[in-house]
């Protein structure tokens, strides 16, 4: 059975990927810094405080999350991840996007050739429903199908 959720498009695009779900705020710096610094090909999450993601590969996953938190290097870190080809397939926010995630995804969209669809405002129900490993399809109108 599949369910479709509708959100707001922050950066457009279409993709299909496997879900990786963080139920708590994603600390971008803590999650990405080790993987980027040491060239981890799978981009495993380095945030010890994130029980959902810690040590799980994030590369090319449909990253489902409420929001990002932490250092204001967060946007820059996301931009670097994209510029280095280490970004998730898409980022799907249940809440309205926060300023750091918006910065990073917009920088990636304007200043790199990477296409990483970003949708926000998908609602709490989206995050309640989606589980690790589910198939996610993102459409350019902000529809997100989970199956």
């Amino acid at each position: 059975m599949s369910r479709t959720f509708k959100g707001r498009v922050i950066t457009p695009g279409e993709t299909t990927a496997e879900a990786l779900v963080s139920r708590t705020g994603l600390n971008t710096l803590a999650s990405y810094q080790s993987a980027l610094m040491f060239g981890d090909k799978e981009v495993k999450c380095g945030d010890q405080n994130n029980n959902d993601l810690y040590k799980k590969p994030m590369l090319n996953k449909a990253l489902c999350l409420p929001e990002t938190i932490g250092s204001t290097t967060g946007g820059m870190v996301l931009y670097c991840a994209a510029a280095l080809g280490k970004q998730p397939a898409c980022m799907l926010f249940s809440k309205e996007i926060d300023s750091l995630a918006a910065s990073g995804t917009i920088l990636a969209s304007v200043w790199t050739d990477v296409e990483m669809p970003v949708i926000d405002s998908l609602g709490e129900e989206f995050l309640d429903y989606v589980q690790d490993g589910m198939k996610i399809s993102v459409s350019s109108d902000g529809s997100v199908t989970v199956e």
Partner: protein
């Protein structure tokens, strides 16, 4: 978003493709938050979170190069976060080799910051608002800053207006001279979503209290009641230092960009409960809650019982008074334990300009006599070295704990460990 004629022309490429992309970035950033317009930056100085020439961040320095080659420099001078390296901080030969490789782009990056317009060679600190540094904006001024601890301090304690901008975006705002108006730049965005009721038996440890609030409210605005019973109602030097450390923990353990403290911070003094939204949620903080939060911190050392090999105090950078207070406490602790020097290698970090002032005082030689090292670095940058990560490092900073393998201890615990060798 409605742009002025000048802004639209920039977006249309009047000053070249690179400036047009800067404008596009800022416009998209504003549109994501339904900003209706751009507003001029009114502070004298900016502040950038990017101060480290770390090789893996080459895409940032390449982007900077692109901006500079098009003459896109900052319209205002700015300070930046701390430098990553200092030879005075203890490290072994292997660590130094790794540091040299890791921060191989430092020279390039610092040269770029000079070209963009950094204030001076001493302007590298996360606590740019300290009087010795000279980047303290006035109430109501609009900023284009990044650095979570500086932004939350500027908004909350100084009453300035700044969003939690990311690195790169803050510089683009300073290049353009304006920022999209949303969030903390608006009156409505500064209203409180939470009431935090302090019901502790003593002044809560700033770093643990901030962590508890950050984890609870995340990006929302808390209005804190009951803290004035411990801090009083004057924003004096020691209260500001407390709020600096509290705010940094709220910003790193959550993503708080603004807090109000009843009867203390400027907007809370002026507007009181009118700042609180209807239906604001309530979070009660008592001794048990603080203990629960502190006990929830994971210790990720290979051997959790290992003897600490290094201690960092000063993330965010210490104020001059904090340095003096720590000097006195370490002296007393050593006297009580019968030791001459600290038993764990210890580094206190502060702004270069504060360090210079401290070195002029009688306390400099007294601190040196205790064996504590004084530095201007960012401890987080030190801990990013994989060899540092393997070390059992302790810290009084909840921000450092969050981003690294360092273990958190309260100020009192830190004092006991470094002066006695153990608790």
């Amino acid at each position: 978003m409605i742009l002025t004629q000048e802004q639209q022309a920039l977006l249309d490429g009047e000053k070249g493709e690179t400036i047009a992309k800067v404008m596009k970035t800022l416009v998209m950033y504003g549109e994501a938050f339904s900003a209706k317009r751009m507003v001029p930056i009114t502070s004298e100085y900016g502040h950038s979170v990017i101060s480290f020439g770390i090789s893996v961040m080459e895409p940032v320095y390449d982007l900077y190069e692109q901006l500079l080659s098009e003459g896109a420099v900052s319209k205002q001078k700015f300070s930046a976060d701390p430098r990553p390296l200092d030879k005075n901080v203890p490290s072994n030969l292997l660590q130094n080799i790794v540091f040299k490789i890791m921060y191989g782009a430092q020279e390039r990056m610092e040269k770029q910051l000079e070209e963009f317009g950094i204030m001076n060679d001493d302007a590298y600190t996360c606590a740019c608002y300290l009087p010795e540094v000279g980047n303290a904006p006035g109430r109501g001024e609009v900023l284009s800053w990044a650095e979570s601890s500086a932004v939350v301090y500027a908004n909350s304690v100084l009453g300035a207006r700044c969003n939690r901008n990311s690195g790169i975006i803050e510089l683009m705002g300073s290049i353009a001279g304006f920022v999209p108006e949303f969030g903390f730049l608006t009156d409505d965005g500064r209203k409180a979503d939470w009431i935090v009721e302090v019901r502790t038996s003593k002044l809560p440890e700033a770093q643990v209290f901030g962590s508890a609030v950050g984890m609870k409210v995340l990006e929302e605005v808390p209005y804190i009641k009951g803290l004035d019973q411990w801090l009083g109602t004057e924003l004096d030097e020691s209260v500001c230092a407390y709020l600096k450390d509290f705010g940094a923990a709220t910003a790193s353990n959550g993503s708080v960009g603004l807090y109000h403290v009843e009867n203390l911070t400027p907007e809370a003094v002026d507007y009181g409960d009118d700042l609180i939204r209807e239906n604001a949620r309530v979070y009660v903080v008592d001794d048990a809650e603080l203990e629960r939060v502190k006990n929830s911190y994971p210790v990720i050392w290979k051997n959790p019982d290992a003897k600490p090999k290094l201690c960092f105090v000063g993330c965010p950078h210490l104020t001059l008074q904090q340095l003096i207070d720590w000097t006195l406490k370490v002296e007393e602790g050593l006297k009580a334990s019968g030791n001459k020097k600290v038993k764990i290698p210890t580094v206190f970090t502060t702004a270069p300009a504060v360090l210079k002032e401290f070195n002029k005082s009688e306390y400099a030689s007294r601190l040196e006599a205790t064996g504590v090292v004084l530095s201007y670095i960012c401890p987080l940058m030190y801990m990013n070295n994989p060899l540092s990560k393997k070390m059992p490092v302790i810290t009084a900073s909840n921000k450092l704990r969050t981003y690294t393998s360092a273990r958190f201890n309260t100020d009192a615990e830190i004092l006991e460990i470094i002066t006695k060798g153990a608790i």
